[in-house]
């Protein structure tokens, strides 16, 4: 017998994956080094991004990344979960459900730039109408203060919500369908109505999967670049209003990397490093929550 080639192959493949990540991080850190030395941690808290004055800070972009993806989750979570429940229960005949599922999952196949264009031509006009109304009627609430722009945090968040909907739906649905049949039947046998069974038994059992879906969706929303860069207005001014333009880290990179020079390149690398750290952090939190809920729900499975 010669060496176990399959084993070697697997070994090399997994080592390569780890090495690639290591190389990427090394490359980013070494590129960012001049900016890290110059700005230190103040980079995170400073809100001026002025390339021609060599003055860089990414606070507005960190806020923008967090706010846009959280709002997107706020929209996508209830919608995605509702679709997942609907598709995993027998409200409709199976072929119809399969068709709906297929259509929802097809949303994931649409290129980002197409979402961006669709956002420009469909969502922006709608947001403008809403924005004008909101400023007139709810203007006293900071998040709806004027003036209302079409390219705004709200527009980007709505399109992001749609983009992460398939992730949210598909993973939640498979978690829901994986709930053992015996549990369902047990609930009905005890006299639970459908809603009681769903809310009291099925959802809690599928919770780890649903949490995983949410975290994955959040991760996608944070890293999404093209559509956001096209819709968010790319401004580094901080504003409470959702109707004002904002910016995200990924959008900043996409916008400025091509023509950047010197310290601007380092600062963009630094921004990339922060984005990597944030997404890593989100994934770690996700993993922790997943484990915790798995432990909590282990008894009922």
């Amino acid at each position: 017998m010669g060496p176990d080639f399959f084993r070697v192959l697997c070994w090399v493949a997994s080592a390569a994956a780890v090495a690639t990540l290591g190389l990427i991080v090394y490359e980013i850190v070494s590129g960012a080094w001049p900016a890290i030395q110059k700005f230190g941690l103040g980079f995170l808290g400073s809100s001026s991004w002025v390339p021609n004055r060599e003055n860089f800070g990414v606070f507005p972009f960190i806020v923008g990344t967090a706010v846009s993806s959280l709002i997107a989750i706020l929209f996508a979570f209830p919608l995605g979960l509702a679709i997942a429940i609907f598709l995993s229960e027998n409200f409709l005949a199976l072929p119809v459900r399969q068709a709906i599922r297929f259509v929802v999952e097809m949303l994931a196949a649409i290129p980002s730039v197409v979402y961006g264009l669709w956002g420009i031509f469909v969502v922006i006009p709608l947001v403008k109408v809403f924005g004008t109304w909101a400023v007139a009627n709810l203007g006293s609430i900071p998040i709806f203060s004027g003036p209302a722009y079409g390219n705004s945090m709200l527009t980007a968040s709505i399109v992001l919500a749609l983009m992460i909907l398939p992730t949210m739906t598909a993973i939640s649905r498979s978690a829901l369908t994986a709930v053992p049949k015996t549990l369902r039947e047990g609930a009905y046998a005890l006299g639970a109505t459908r809603w009681e069974a769903i809310l009291g038994v099925i959802l809690p059992t599928a919770a780890p999967g649903i949490v995983a879906a949410t975290i994955l969706a959040l991760g996608r929303a944070m890293g999404e670049t093209m559509a956001v860069a096209m819709l968010i207005g790319n401004s580094s001014r901080l504003s409470w209003s959702l109707l004002s333009p904002g910016g995200t880290l990924a959008g900043l990179l996409a916008n400025q990397f091509g023509e950047a020079e010197g310290m601007q390149v380092s600062s963009l690398m630094y921004a990339a490093l922060i984005l990597v750290v944030i997404t890593l952090f989100v994934n770690l939190v996700g993993e922790a929550v997943l484990r915790y809920t798995q432990k909590q729900t282990a008894g009922i499975r």
């Binding site: 390339p51 021609n52 403008k128 722009y149 790319n234 916008n255 601007q264």
Partner: protein
């Protein structure tokens, strides 16, 4: 001797195996888009094909080229030829055959740089290929900054940049640099104001709008220059380029020249931070912003504004006249520019009565010396074509054709390339 024919989307390849030597292939008959080209047999050694240098290999430059070809084929979904009938090694032979074939039969010129003139350069490439099929020009619009980087690194035959090259950048190129102005463009204030067909913007208004000090369309500073126009009581929605761009560079350069305030608060660069407004990605992004919002104003290239039917403001020039953008006013600006020795100049604040205030050349970057005589000849011919016949395509694509004196000087500069 067995001969196999492989069809690929790029042409036909015949790979022949030499019976005695197991790993040597002869590939010949490589054509682009199915047209067979006179065969020039060459031997291809697999060892070279994956990048190890060997004195016997003349055509394969490096591993990267072959790999990028393979990657591109995968990218476009071009299938590899009949896998069942061919030995793995012949895949390499095909990759190299493509390379060998194309470089043997056609002179490839590769360029990279500014996005603004890309449609024109690409058109030149296509049209010139019709005139002289032996030369293929591949221009990638990667942005001025990246163009200068690629050019400095020596990975392209020519570069292109809206911001020319600074002296420190030029000093980094050991082969020397010749800057050739290739075409020119204007930057316009595109606006969206229903009911206002003609708008004059004074120098004060231009800077004020982008500084945020003029926030309404009926501001006295705008109204003063537009007697009789019905200016609405609308907030001005300012749009700017969010991506780094030569357009922003030229635009902020002009505003900095005409307004001290603007120079102090914003300054000149390829990406700056405006205190007001919304950023759109690319000319198309700003165009979309202006088109969609009544009350919006943004700076875009003349070609984009014209192509999208946007209203363009007449701008006040140094002599106090309001000049509408267009080919004539742009040509007037360019004609009044006194070109220095290195041909690098911006008409920052043109003085002539009929000059449109914001216009700029865009440059081709050539090395002073080329080692490959055939390449040099092809490049010179191509650039000459662009400077002469090529200028004819400029206006239909929204550029300003170069005035004759500029063409003469550019040609003279081209002659110094060796």
């Amino acid at each position: 001797m067995s001969e196999r024919r492989c069809e690929m989307s790029m042409g036909m390849i015949f790979v022949r195996k030499v019976p005695i030597l197991n790993n040597i292939f002869i590939a010949h008959q490589v054509g682009i888009a199915g047209t067979p080209i006179a065969s020039k047999n060459r031997r291809l050694f697999p060892a070279q094909l994956v990048g190890w240098k060997s004195p016997l290999c003349v055509d394969c430059d490096n591993f990267v080229t072959i790999m990028s070809l393979a990657v591109r084929n995968v990218w476009y979904g071009i299938p590899f030829p009949t896998i069942k009938t061919m030995k793995p090694l012949s895949f390499f032979a095909i990759g190299a055959a493509l390379l060998a074939g194309t470089s043997a039969n056609a002179q490839q010129l590769s360029g990279a740089g500014a996005t603004f003139p890309a449609p024109l350069y690409q058109r030149w490439g296509v049209e010139y290929n019709k005139v002289n099929p032996a030369v293929q020009v591949n221009y990638q619009s990667v942005g001025s900054g990246a163009g200068v980087k690629n050019f400095t690194a020596g990975v392209v035959d020519f570069g292109a940049s809206d911001a020319a090259m600074s002296d420190t950048e030029i000093a980094k190129v050991s082969k020397g640099v010749v800057l050739i102005p290739a075409t020119a463009g204007e930057i316009v204030f595109a606006y969206n104001l229903p009911g206002v067909d003609k708008l004059n913007l004074s120098r004060e208004a231009m800077a004020g709008i982008y500084l945020g000090t003029i926030a309404k369309w009926n501001d006295p500073a705008i109204a003063k220059a537009n007697p009789g126009a019905k200016l609405p009581d609308l907030p001005i929605q300012v749009a700017y380029r969010s991506d780094g761009s030569g357009t922003t560079y030229v635009f902020t350069q002009h505003l900095s020249a005409i307004s001290k305030d603007f120079d102090e608060k914003i300054g000149t660069d390829k990406s700056v931070t405006f205190p007001v407004g919304v950023g759109g990605k690319g000319n198309e992004g700003v165009t979309a912003l202006v088109k969609q919002s009544p009350g919006a104003v943004g700076y875009v290239e003349y070609g984009y504004a014209k192509g999208n039917g946007l209203a363009m403001a007449s701008l006040e020039n140094k002599s106090g006249k309001f000049i509408a953008p267009g080919e004539e006013s742009g040509a007037s600006t360019l004609a009044n520019v006194k070109l220095p020795e290195n041909l690098r100049i911006w008409p920052v604040d043109p003085e002539g009565d009929t000059d449109y205030p914001i216009a700029s050349f865009t440059w081709l970057l050539l090395y002073k010396k080329y080692d490959d005589a055939a390449k040099l000849k092809a490049l010179k011919e191509f650039v000459t074509y662009g400077l002469t016949t090529g200028q004819g395509f400029a206006s239909e694509l929204g550029y300003i054709p170069l005035p004759a004196p500029v063409v003469e000087k550019a040609k003279a500069a081209l002659a110094t390339v060796q």
